[in-house]
Symmetry: C2
Subunit: 390 residues, 2 copies
């Protein structure tokens, strides 16, 4: 009887397991501490204190004031609130919005909606490496531009975007929204989370629970709410606060940020080693996205493989106990190739045989050379041009 | 040393503790089963199966097809999606919306927003008992009326609304939205959850976790989405599904519905007994809302007390280990008196000295006469006209 090899979870950009320590903080609020933060009695106030603490922890990580943090049900809601809320609020001053070609569906979706509402949304292309050119963004700004949306790091290629350079080139009064859901814990958080006027965060990308996120709103941004009801979240996001999820989010974000150095060192090294072994061991495989590791998230790379039918890649890896993603998880199921790869000039055909690997903290559990060998073995029956073996 | 008496949790309409059995079903999805349902690998599919099962359980309780269930982050989001989404979708046919005066803030808030968008929202008054007259609703319907919003049961008074009578009187083509967040597990769910075109449900009101809810959408309703992004929830609610919360919601809703008969019998009897003891023991106290228990939720009543300063009521009860609510939890913190009581013709002054008691399943843990005595003792220093002692 053979022991099955350990699961290789290389799909952390889709979702991450909840930290055991984070879950411990959440559990009381899933059981006896069941108050509604809007209730004025002791059990309600206990829940209110917990939400306030979570808010303060999020604020601490991004160097914001707690009243600048709008807690949401996730990154998608934060992105919607930022894009729809800010563009609509500024509509009397202008209706021109700039958005990078590689934004997440939860930014591009609201942009399509803005078009239906009469806004002009201009898509700023990216280079072959998937990065936006700050001068192209600045050059596209018009007198009626009110909002620019550029993410901190792309979920599919890991490409880090020059958000701060863009900010420096933007005229004052133009708001910058930055979808930063993929960066906490993966890169040192400096000005990139302090400077954007609107910053989106997600809990389940940083080993927190699903169902929580935040939009950080800084002057002069003042998005209109999308939902209406109780006055929760400064009137920007009504509904009983999801106390346990927000408690977990605050704890997870703080932990992730505090361990960034270690993550960059360990996950970064192992990711580069795995990539090198794969490129070397599977001739015809090609890295899509920035060549320079310093321009990518330390845990992420997208590789195209020389196979005839790309649809078999993720299932073949899955059968071998290796989790990975074809295109972004949010777009999977759809037959369309990734808009991120298309935006980089990758052909439809090559995009269809591309796999995104996004590694996680558990790098001690596996060896890069052995993992590359497992991947090669899993894909071997699919590879067109058999070359060097790892 | 005296043992402190057990906590009397009489604020279940604000939020309920998560059932132990429900939490057990959730826990795996808060730990190792961390997949994103949009991921196509095994761990993602496992999450997808869990969400589909939760959806099927919700659908089962309301006798809907699973594809008629839109899973949301809670009741507030469901109400917003129903009101804003349905009214906007029908805007080309008409812009007249009818809404009862006692709806929750998460229905009235979207209605205010609709007014800003040029809709005409007409508020249908309620009687002194807090109930809507079906003929008044039907009489207010115009050719350009597209949507009528009447809740199943009011959260503050427990008043059951004649939703089915209203439905029978509505011309075909006019949609009925019913906020049913307060009814599952409390009243037998018959046609009231099967007939409305749009039905809102909430998880944390039925001993499920916070952060989950649903909008059940039946033909011909077809609300526009409020948020945009991934294609989740038939395109009506994007964002990574909150798998553990939805798993808990499905389990909790099913359990609550299955135990309704026992709940009606036990909680109903204890609630009526507590109310009788309070009315008898505190002269000058007055029941607000329907007199007939059959017209109220079995667990809910609102009582005004003869005190000078109503603001002291909830804190005094709280100090005595009794959780209750002044007005609805969602509106608390606001100095305004409850719009529900105002709508019933209750004076501002009397509303300010009103307490909502909403009991829960744990009726075996306390005795009605003893609970009434504790309440009387807690309020005694505040009562203006001291009368009969319990």
């Amino acid at each position: 009887m053979t022991r099955s090899p350990p699961l290789l979870h290389f799909d952390h950009n889709a979702s991450t397991p909840v930290d055991a320590a984070v879950l411990q903080e959440m559990l009381p609020f899933l059981a006896e501490r069941s108050g509604n933060p809007s209730s004025t009695h002791s059990v309600g106030r206990e829940a209110r204190v917990a939400v306030d603490r979570a808010r303060a922890r999020v604020a601490g990580v991004v160097a914001a004031r707690p009243d600048q943090v709008v807690l949401t049900a996730g990154g998608t809601e934060a992105n919607n609130l930022a894009v729809l809320g800010a563009a609509r609020e500024a509509a009397s001053r202008g209706r021109h919005v700039l958005v990078s070609a590689v934004e997440h569906a939860s930014v591009l979706g609201p942009c399509s909606r803005l078009r239906e509402e009469g806004f002009e949304v201009e898509v700023v292309p990216v280079g072959r490496d998937g990065r936006v050119d700050p001068r192209r963004v600045a050059g596209a700004v018009r007198r009626d531009t009110t909002l620019v949306c550029v993410m901190a790091a792309n979920n599919e290629t890991g490409a880090l975007q020059p958000v701060l350079e863009i900010l420096r080139l933007l005229p004052s009064g133009v708001l910058l929204h930055c979808d930063a859901t993929q960066v906490p814990g993966k890169v040192p958080l400096g000005e990139i989370v302090r400077k954007p006027h609107l910053l989106s965060l997600s809990s389940h990308k940083v080993h927190g629970p699903k169902g929580a996120g935040a939009l950080v709103v800084r002057t002069p941004a003042r998005p209109q709410p999308l939902l209406f009801g109780g006055g929760q979240e400064h009137g920007l996001r009504p509904g009983t606060e999801n106390v346990p999820a927000l408690v977990g989010f605050g704890a997870a974000l703080e932990r992730a940020a505090a361990r960034t150095d270690e993550y960059v060192r360990t996950v970064g090294a192992r990711t580069r080693a795995l990539l090198a072994h794969l490129l070397d061991g599977i001739p015809g495989s090609r890295l899509l996205g920035p060549e320079d590791p310093a321009s990518r998230l330390p845990n992420t790379f997208a590789l195209s493989f020389p196979v005839r039918d790309g649809r078999a890649l993720v299932p073949a890896l899955d059968l071998a106990g290796i989790l990975a993603s074809s295109g972004s998880a949010c777009a999977s199921g759809a037959p369309e190739p990734s808009h991120v790869l298309a935006g980089m000039g990758v052909s439809r055909e090559e995009a269809s045989r591309t796999v995104r690997f996004s590694l996680g903290r558990e790098v001690e559990e596996w060896d890069a050379e052995e993992a590359a060998r497992r991947i090669r073995r899993a894909l071997d029956p699919l590879l067109v041009a058999h070359g060097r073996q790892i």
